[in-house]
């Protein structure tokens, strides 16, 4: 047992050499982020709530933000080239956030529903 000794850990983690991401990815994400920001601003000035449905403005803004976030997470944060555990971790974070939102709002949104009050 000399130098070649490896620990078990998770079998997939042995990436010794760094993965060099091609520059085009970084600049692509950068462009997406800048354009996303500009679009977010201009969409916010249009009254989609009135024209489409209430909450449309926020929904679109959040969709753009979500897309921007996905780009940052996948490319800048290298998740695209990372182990499944990192994928799982990133997703779990947002899943738990969703639990907190959903289960808090299921109370607030049904306060006036009056299940038993007829």
């Amino acid at each position: 047992m000399a130098e070649g000794y490896k620990t078990a850990g998770d079998a997939e983690h042995q990436h010794a050499e760094p993965h060099i991401v091609p520059l085009i990815y970084y600049f692509g994400v950068f462009a997406v982020l800048v354009f996303g920001t500009i679009i977010t601003y201009f969409v916010a000035t249009v009254d989609l709530d009135g024209r489409l449905f209430p909450g449309a403005n926020t929904l679109i803004a959040l969709l753009i933000a979500f897309f921007k976030m996905t780009c940052v997470v996948l490319i800048f944060m290298h998740v695209r080239w990372s182990s499944r555990l990192i994928w799982l971790t990133a997703i779990a974070g947002f899943f738990w956030l969703a639990i907190m939102f959903a289960f808090t709002m299921q109370d607030y949104l049904t306060r006036s529903a009056g299940v038993f009050t007829g």
Binding site: K6, T45, P54, G93
Partner: protein, 313 residues
């Protein structure tokens, strides 16, 4: 312990930067990376609590949130978003340079990242100071208002139809500093209270019939729009604004601290293709702080913007 350590040293090649509890660099790097991701997960939940508060109150009082949001300056907010995006790019480039073992490039990119981070904080300071001068810091005693503004707001207090418009914070900032103050003297609102007079959005929503059931109670007393009650709800928006952006700024300051340390290490040429995980995980942190802002910008600055451009609902 002593002879254990001896065995260890004799039989293992010990690369620089390898800590004693790890067997090899791959394991150490993996641990650092997973550790940072776990830390980011707890950060998500930390900010998540605030986003939950935001969600609850915004769903209760959308008009108060829109009114408060419209008073934030989307120019500064948008500029800061772009600044942060650029800093994220330079951070990604710094990580890349470290992976390629390019020490000089890495130092340059870390410095650039720090500069953009500092610019962000500077803009934030300008915005906070504007809020202070405008009198809309939601904490009593933390506001400065001039004599002129108090009189103006007192005049319009009776009429809920006060014109709403994009107010330039710089205008009131300059007024407060005495640049354009025709009276030449300034009086301070010694109470430093949060003062909010403008209820025009409520009127608009009432006419358009899209007040929520909560709002129909929360903004009115005896069937009349209550400026004081509306002010309380706007105050909640500004409180959430200050806590969220404040904690975000705190994370930026911590990030700058990390960057300073990283710069020192990079300057010494510590990082190479074999050992770059400190740069990598600092990058993860920096990008996370960026992501928080990506959500804060539309949720805080833009949520009522369409009311300013002739929108009804």
């Amino acid at each position: 312990m002593a002879h254990v350590a001896d065995i260890h040293d004799e039989h293992h090649y010990h690369p620089p930067g390898l800590q004693h509890q790890f067997e090899d660099m791959g394991q150490q790097q993996e641990s650092a990376s997973i550790g940072m991701w776990m830390f980011l997960v707890q950060e998500i939940m930390f900010f998540g609590g605030l986003f939950t508060v935001y969600l609850v109150f915004r769903s209760k009082y959308p008009m108060a949130f829109a009114a408060g949001s419209n008073h934030l300056d989307a120019f500064w907010g948008g500029l800061n978003t772009l600044v942060l995006i650029v800093s994220s790019l330079t951070m990604a480039m710094a990580v890349r340079s470290a992976q390629l073992g390019k020490r000089n490039l890495q130092v340059v990119f870390i410095i650039l990242t720090m500069i953009f981070g500092a610019v962000f904080l500077g803009v934030k300071a300008i915005e906070y100071s504007a809020k202070y001068h405008e009198g809309i810091v939601p904490v009593s005693g933390l506001n400065l208002k001039t004599d002129k503004e108090i009189r103006e707001s007192d005049e319009s207090a009776g009429s809920p139809q006060a014109p709403v418009g994009r107010q330039d914070p710089n205008e009131s900032l300059n007024t407060a500093l005495g640049d354009h103050d025709s009276h030449g003297e300034k009086y301070v609102n010694t109470r430093g209270d949060f003062l909010w007079k403008d209820t025009s959005l409520v009127v608009q929503a009432q006419q358009g019939n899209y007040l929520t059931s909560d709002e129909k109670i929360a903004y009115f007393s005896n069937g009349e729009i209550s400026q004081a009650k509306f002010q309380d709800k706007v105050r909640i928006f500004f409180f959430i604004y200050f806590v969220m952006t404040g904690l975000h700024a705190l994370h930026m300051i911590v990030g700058l601290g990390i960057m300073t340390w990283l710069l020192w290490k990079a300057w010494l040429g510590t990082f190479s293709a074999l050992y770059y995980s400190p740069v990598e995980i600092s990058g993860l942190y920096w990008h996370f702080v960026d992501i928080v802002w990506i959500f804060l910008f539309p949720l805080l600055y833009l949520l009522g913007r369409h009311f300013l451009h002739g929108g009804g609902h």
